[in-house]
């Protein structure tokens, strides 16, 4: 009690307690959720939301914290998915969680290789080289039948599904807890990474890399670290997307549109924040669904379905533009402003 808290953003003591209670409530809700919501919600809304948040988290580490622009998110997700498939197929003794980790490491190594140009080029030019990764892997995984085990449809699927250590996680509950566990773990890891030396290195490079080099930040190593860690997380997100959400996937599921989607998630959610990935994923994956449900309920059968779909897209685009004009730094900044505003109202 007598210890001074010299952190720059010291929080009032009673708010810390409130935070802990809040966290406990959220945890309880998250654990109990599958028993209250329908299978549709788990299968089609919550699980993809969680996985996209993880992908957004991965990209945010690279683009938001380390400042390296990248359009290769889809490619690294693809590598993770195909690596998991190859491991489960060719080394079935390796349990699924470990296969996921190894696949993540493979994706991380690939990210490292495709991140090498970042040591020489910056900004938009770097986008081009990550785009090269995107196209390269789209070609690679179709060209060589070894990657999809020669089946006629060039799709990959886990033959045993999500089963490991004797547990069968194939039902909606299993998939939800599996995804939730992995996403929570990786978020926790990222949180610690950001708070530590690595995160500070990344933010220094993002803000002013020349100055960072001057004060002794190992710029080259930190940039490559960013690519590796980001691709590790993206690889695991890709494996989850393919096997915990879709069931089977092919190159189509991880195309350029996916890279754009993940980039939009972090731009709208907030670059350089952990919660930005979650807010952005909610916006990008849930809002179109909500619009679709609403329009389907209100207008189905009365208005041409194609017209409805195009109107939804227009509305979604307008919302993005409006949000970004209101707050260019994304939803997380909006949330932060609200919180400081409310704190000013109730000073303690």
């Amino acid at each position: 009690m007598a210890e001074l808290d010299l952190r720059a953003t010291a929080e009032p003591a009673d708010l810390v307690g409130l935070k802990a209670i809040g966290l406990a409530v959220v945890t309880a809700l998250a654990l109990a959720a599958p028993f209250f919501v329908s299978e549709y919600w788990i299968n089609a809304i919550i699980v993809p939301f969680l996985i996209l948040s993880l992908a957004g988290l991965g990209l945010n580490l690279l683009t938001g914290y380390a400042g390296q622009l990248s359009l290769g998110a889809g490619a690294f997700m693809m590598v993770g998915a195909y690596a998991t498939f190859a491991l489960q197929l060719r080394m079935p003794e390796l349990p699924l969680p470990f296969a996921l980790i190894v696949a993540g490491l493979i994706a991380g190594a690939v990210g490292l290789v495709f991140g090498l140009p970042s040591t020489r080029i910056k900004g938009f030019y770097l986008i081009v080289s990550t785009l090269a990764a995107q196209f390269f892997f789209e070609w690679l995984f179709l060209k060589f039948p070894w990657f999809y085990n020669g089946n006629s449809s060039a799709t990959i699927a886990l033959s045993r599904g999500l089963s490991f250590f004797g547990l069968d996680a194939n039902g909606p509950h299993g998939r939800y807890y599996f995804t939730l566990g992995i996403v929570t773990l990786l978020t926790f890891l990222s949180f610690n990474l950001i708070r530590g030396q690595t995160g500070r290195n990344w933010m220094a490079i993002r803000d002013m890399d020349t100055a960072a080099a001057v004060i002794g930040v190992p710029v080259l190593r930190a940039k490559l670290q960013a690519f590796a860690v980001s691709s590790f997380i993206l690889g695991i997100a890709g494996a989850l997307w393919a096997f915990a959400y879709l069931g089977s996937a092919s190159v189509q599921s991880f195309g350029l549109h996916r890279s754009y989607q993940v980039l939009f998630i972090i731009i709208i959610g907030g670059l350089g924040t952990i919660r930005g990935a979650y807010l952005g994923a909610a916006f990008v994956s849930l809002l179109p669904l909500a619009l679709d449900w609403l329009f389907q309920y209100l207008f189905s059968g009365q208005v041409d379905a194609g017209l409805l779909q195009n109107i939804q897209k227009a509305i979604f685009g307008i919302l993005i533009i409006w949000f970004l004009i209101r707050e260019p730094e994304g939803l997380s900044r909006l949330l932060a402003i609200r919180r400081t505003a409310s704190r000013r109202l109730f000073p303690s």
């Binding site: 299968n43 006629s152 089977s248 092919s250 669904l289 449900w293 194609g306 779909q309």
Partner: protein, 442 residues
């Protein structure tokens, strides 16, 4: 603005769980995952118009199927398998007291994405002239129905037609047949069959991929000009077909030596290609045209009364419209088979499977429903989920599709072992025990 969004989300939550005000449980729910937006919209629109018109005809003119009305509802998917999966999850519990008897996938990638889910949920996936060819073997795939014409049958019928043009199957020896295919699960689906046929008849099999979406095909057709095949088998879909025909003309390959598959043979494939498409032939398990009995009925009851879903009445009888009619007719006849067995009430997935597995439409019935010449006689059994495996050939003359042949059957004796092998491999990989339909009581 935020309040509006929150209200919308709440509305979505509430209405997804609320019991419906309509207590109409004498109608069978049929969800339609459609695409009216995106690259394939122009083909899709006609397809849904055909389905909707036929369902409407059944509901309003015939009073439903054995008295049970059809409650059909569209959901937009943009031909994306991810979105079709979401739609499937949304509708699989049924609606208004009617469970789901079957699910039209309206696209091969969607069938692949849903294959395992549907097997677990026990809902039949209906994908005529598409789907996973191994699913013809119903003992391993009880809930997948690649009806009418599998991709292997397409290859075989195409080869049989080429043989008839060169004077016999023995004349195929030494010929070069190139397949230009869309580089996706769909385009590759007939490769195993073509390989086996090439070995049997001694023709050279050249496979040339076209990357999605296939807007630029000069390298492929340059390769064809170098290798000089005698015939080209076109396994493309969407814009890649149009570009293929135009590029073929540019490189001097005659259109009358190109045979397109089912999904490369509609008006939206040939009209944009203009003169390059004259003489081009396509496999037609669903021929185009309005001379069939059902068209006369629909014209009188639906089209002329302004009840058609077609935006442009001139497209009545287009190939894609007829695809819709045939799909809808198969569903209706299957439901009829089911209602006669289980009673005239909405069926669930397992009953739907039984209904489809006992669907037989002979020539007499085809006459009755007005589909003679449009739909082939079909007999689906628990071991044979294809049921027909024949197609007619139609050629484009610049204005319309002209039927060239009667129903040409595929070489099922040659193809069945291939299919069984593929199905057995799938079964062992996924630890599925093939069922023995003879022991089933249902």
């Amino acid at each position: 603005m935020k309040r509006l969004i929150v209200a919308a989300l709440l509305a979505g939550t509430v209405f997804s769980h609320a019991a419906s005000a309509f207590a109409d449980n004498v109608s069978q729910y049929i969800p339609l995952p459609t695409y009216r937006v995106g690259a394939y919209a122009s083909s899709g629109e006609l397809w849904w118009a055909g389905e909707r018109d036929y369902f409407r005809y059944i509901n309003e003119v015939e009073g439903g199927v054995e008295g049970v009305k059809l409650d059909y509802e569209e959901f937009e998917t943009e031909w994306s398998p991810d979105r079709t999966v979401e739609v499937y999850e949304r509708v699989k519990a049924g609606k208004n007291g009617s469970p789901l008897a079957f699910f039209f996938t309206h696209g091969t990638p969607a069938t692949y994405a849903l294959l395992e889910r549907a097997a677990a949920d026990k809902i039949p996936l209906i994908d005529p002239a598409g789907g996973k060819t191994e699913a013809v073997d119903g003992t391993v795939f009880p809930y997948a129905f690649p009806l009418l014409f599998s991709y292997y049958s397409q290859a075989s019928t195409g080869i049989n037609y080429i043989a008839s043009k060169v004077g016999g199957l023995d004349k195929l020896k030494g010929l070069k047949i190139a397949t230009v295919y869309h580089d996706s699960a769909y385009g590759r689906a007939s490769q195993p069959a073509v390989e086996v046929l090439a070995k049997k008849y001694g023709f050279e099999n050249i496979q040339i991929p076209v990357a999605d979406p296939g807007n630029e095909q000069s390298p492929q057709w340059r390769q064809i000009r170098e290798q000089k095949p005698d015939w080209v088998f076109l396994r493309t879909w969407g814009v890649s077909t149009v570009v293929a025909l135009k590029t073929a003309q540019r490189f001097g390959f005659p259109a009358d030596h190109i045979v397109g598959d089912v999904w490369a043979g509609s008006e939206s494939d040939v009209i944009p290609a203009g003169a390059a498409a004259i003489g081009y032939s396509a496999l037609a398990p669903y021929p185009g045209g309005t001379e069939f009995g059902i068209h006369k009925k629909l014209k009188a009851e639906i089209l002329d009364k302004g009840k058609s879903d077609l935006r442009d009445p001139k497209l009545f009888g287009a190939v894609n419209y007829n695809i819709g009619l045939v799909n809808a007719a198969l569903a209706v006849e299957a439901l009829r088979t089911g209602y006669k067995h289980f009673g005239a009430r909405p069926l669930n997935g397992e009953e739907g499977r039984w209904a489809f597995e006992h669907l037989t439409i002979n020539d007499r019935r085809l006459e009755e429903i007005g589909f003679k010449g449009l739909l082939q006689p079909i007999a689906i059994t628990p071991t044979d989920h294809e049921g027909g495996g024949a197609a007619r050939i139609q050629s484009w003359d610049g204005h319309k599709w002209v039927l060239q042949t009667d129903w040409i059957k595929a070489d099922h004796e040659l193809l069945n072992p291939l299919i069984k092998e593929g199905a057995a491999a799938y079964a062992s990989e996924h630890s599925i025990t093939p069922r023995t339909p003879q022991t089933e009581t249902n």
